[in-house]
């Protein structure tokens, strides 16, 4: 992955690799309840050693892009599910990773909110130099994908591109 064999890296190197190259969006958001939305989004930058104020400023700018400009200083407990997931997306994108991994990002959301979140992922996470991998059981979001890989018992059984028939079985 990105020129390295991530599976063979030592544990510490693997953590650094993850920090630099991968952003995570979790099913249950996993925001830190004691931190504000902006602080939560800034955590990857702070973990990378950036100054707290600078990191929070960058996170606030990203939250504005994601439509959370009025909720930047709100605690996660006061945010709706969709807002929390948007904060989680901001946290996954703030450090400009090359890969965004989303684990069931719409599982805890209703249809409309899930749809809005996936639109955000599609619009912000996917760049020419960045890919987004979404793991989901939610067939309603399949149409956002460029490539769909079907998995069964941990193995890819078929791969589709833009809804067309399989590339590889």
């Amino acid at each position: 992955m990105f020129g390295s064999n991530a599976g063979r890296l030592p544990a510490n190197q693997r953590i650094l690799f993850r920090r630099e190259n991968i952003g995570f969006v979790f099913q249950q958001f996993n925001l830190l309840p004691a931190l504000t939305a902006a602080e939560n989004a800034a955590v990857p930058l702070i973990a990378a050693g950036m100054k707290r104020t600078e990191a929070v400023d960058r996170a606030k700018a990203l939250l504005d892009q994601l439509g959370l400009n009025g909720r930047r200083d709100a605690l996660p407990a006061t945010l709706s599910g969709g807002e929390q997931q948007r904060v989680a997306i901001a946290r996954a994108l703030v450090h400009e990773p090359r890969l965004v991994v989303c684990d069931e990002p719409t599982a805890a959301l209703d249809h409309a909110t899930g749809d809005a979140v996936m639109k955000l992922v599609a619009a912000n996470a996917v760049h020419p130099d960045r890919a987004a991998v979404v793991v989901t059981h939610d067939s309603r979001v399949f149409h956002f994908a460029d490539v769909i890989a079907h998995m069964d018992d941990g193995r890819i059984v078929k791969t589709e591109r833009n809804g067309k028939r399989e590339i590889q079985s």
Binding site: I15, F24, F26, Q28, L32, I46, A47, A48
Partner: protein, 468 residues
């Protein structure tokens, strides 16, 4: 990430406060018990510590602790004096007479008979009167706690009488002697008087107090005395530790306190540890998210340790504060309980000291004027501040006392002149005060801490009386 760790810690107020209070109460219990334990053990040798003039104690060969004495022969004193390295040696008598007041109240006392010529071993911390007056016939100095035991609820007053072994004795001073192990009154008198107050025996010399010559090690003097006289000689520190070790070995004190302290330690560790463990366990998902984001294991460990250190520090600090407050409150209460209104003059009429508290306030009319000798004071017996005037000698002019229960405020002129300081006196002694806080006149800022413990010489005549 430190701020993330601390915010995670303080985010859940209930758990955070629960952790702090668990640690605080355990700390309080541990410190409380260990302090009382240390204090009790120190009491076993308090009469030894109070003797500051001598550095070697000579006693019977089999003496193990202070209370256990077998009288020496009078000739032993001269034998000790003959040992090389002994600067001087004086005798000390210790007995347990029963002292009785006119009202019939009595108590078994620790009577210390001091060398008639030098009064070596006399109490140095005097609340009232002076130990020099022990040279008067049938005179004693009693400790404050003993006075209160024998004259409960009565003001500290000199020249009161006690009866000991059919002898009428006069209290010429009230000392602040260290409390003995059994809380008996501690009475100091001259050796020749003490043997009369107890009743004569064939031999009466309890201890020989020795001062080693300058440049000669006290332990070396002890060795020489033991070699030459066959008596037991211990330095002050050694004898103090002998007493402590004796009580540790032969009483249930260490076991009882040890059990309490151990249980407190175990319960405290378990409760605090369990609470913190649950706290960390509940945050495990968040730590997992942080790890996925790219926080290293060392950083996560550091975050948990920081959280533990923070609650530990705050809990320990709060617990220590609670312990300090507890002892401060109990000491203050006992001070307030034990000290009634006093207006007294010392023997040479140079001092006038007023101390007040509110317990007996209703018994006296407000601003009762007490006049006596050559000093004047106004004593406010009501629940209002006392005003009385002193005119000290020297450049530090103490202009006015403004005393309250347990605390006294005064205004004094600095040595340079012109500057007035407002001082809050923690304790008042016969001729000096312990100042805790002070403030320059005109400034609102109080400067905390003990700034001085100074002897203020008080003069005999008031210069410009200040109306209360």
């Amino acid at each position: 990430m430190n701020f993330v760790a601390l915010r995670m810690l303080t985010g859940d107020r209930a758990k955070y406060l629960g952790l702090i209070f668990a640690i605080a109460f355990c700390t309080f219990l541990l410190e409380n018990q260990t302090s009382i334990f240390a204090s009790i053990l120190k009491r076993t040798g308090s009469q030894i510590i109070d003797v500051t003039d001598a550095d070697v104690w000579v006693m019977d060969r089999k003496t193990e602790y202070f209370e256990q004495t077998k009288a020496l022969k009078d000739t032993d004193l001269t034998r000790v004096r003959g040992v090389n390295g002994v600067d001087w040696a004086v005798k000390l008598f210790k007995g347990y007479p029963v002292a009785r007041t006119r009202a019939g109240k009595f108590a078994s006392c620790i009577l210390l008979g001091l060398d008639d010529a030098t009064l070596t071993g006399a109490p140095r911390k005097m609340l009232l009167g002076s130990w020099q007056r022990l040279r008067e016939p049938d005179s004693i100095v009693i400790d404050n706690a003993g006075y209160i035991l024998l004259f409960p609820g009565e003001p500290l007053e000199l020249d009161r009488e006690l009866e000991m072994n059919d002898h009428r004795v006069k209290i010429v001073g009230i000392s602040d002697a260290s409390a003995p192990f059994l809380s008996n009154p501690v009475i100091h008198t001259r050796y020749s008087e003490a043997v009369n107050f107890v009743g004569h025996e064939r031999t009466e010399l309890s201890y020989v107090l020795v001062r080693s010559q300058p440049g000669v090690n006290a332990e070396e003097v002890c060795r020489r005395i033991e070699a030459q006289t066959g008596l037991r000689a211990r330095t002050t520190d050694q004898f103090l530790w002998d007493c402590i070790v004796y009580y540790l070995k032969n009483t249930g004190i260490p076991v009882n306190f040890g059990i309490t302290i151990t249980i407190a330690l175990i319960v405290g560790t378990v409760v605090a540890g369990q609470t913190f463990y649950l706290f960390t366990l509940e945050n495990l998902k968040q730590f997992g998210a942080l790890k996925a984001i790219g926080v290293t294991n060392w950083r996560l460990t550091g975050m948990v340790l920081l959280q533990a250190f923070a609650v530990g520090l705050m809990g320990f600090g709060l617990g220590t504060g609670m312990s300090a407050a507890f002892f401060e409150a109990t000491l203050r209460n006992s001070y307030a309980r034990n000290h009634s209104d006093v207006a007294e003059r010392d023997a040479d009429r140079r001092l006038h000291l007023v101390r007040c508290h509110n317990r007996q306030s209703s018994e006296y009319p407000a601003r009762d004027r007490v006049r006596g000798g050559d000093s004047v004071s106004r004593v406010n017996r009501a629940r209002k501040p006392i005003h009385c005037d002193f005119v000290p000698r020297g450049t530090q002019a103490l202009r006015r006392w403004h005393a309250r229960p347990g605390i006294a405020r005064c205004r004094l002129r600095g040595p340079a002149g012109g500057t007035y300081l407002h001082c809050w006196a923690e304790r008042l002694w016969q001729d000096h005060a312990l100042i805790r806080d002070h403030r320059v006149a005109g400034s609102k800022r109080r400067r905390g801490g003990i700034v001085r413990e100074q002897r203020w010489p008080f003069a005999s005549q008031p210069a410009d009386p200040v109306s209360p």
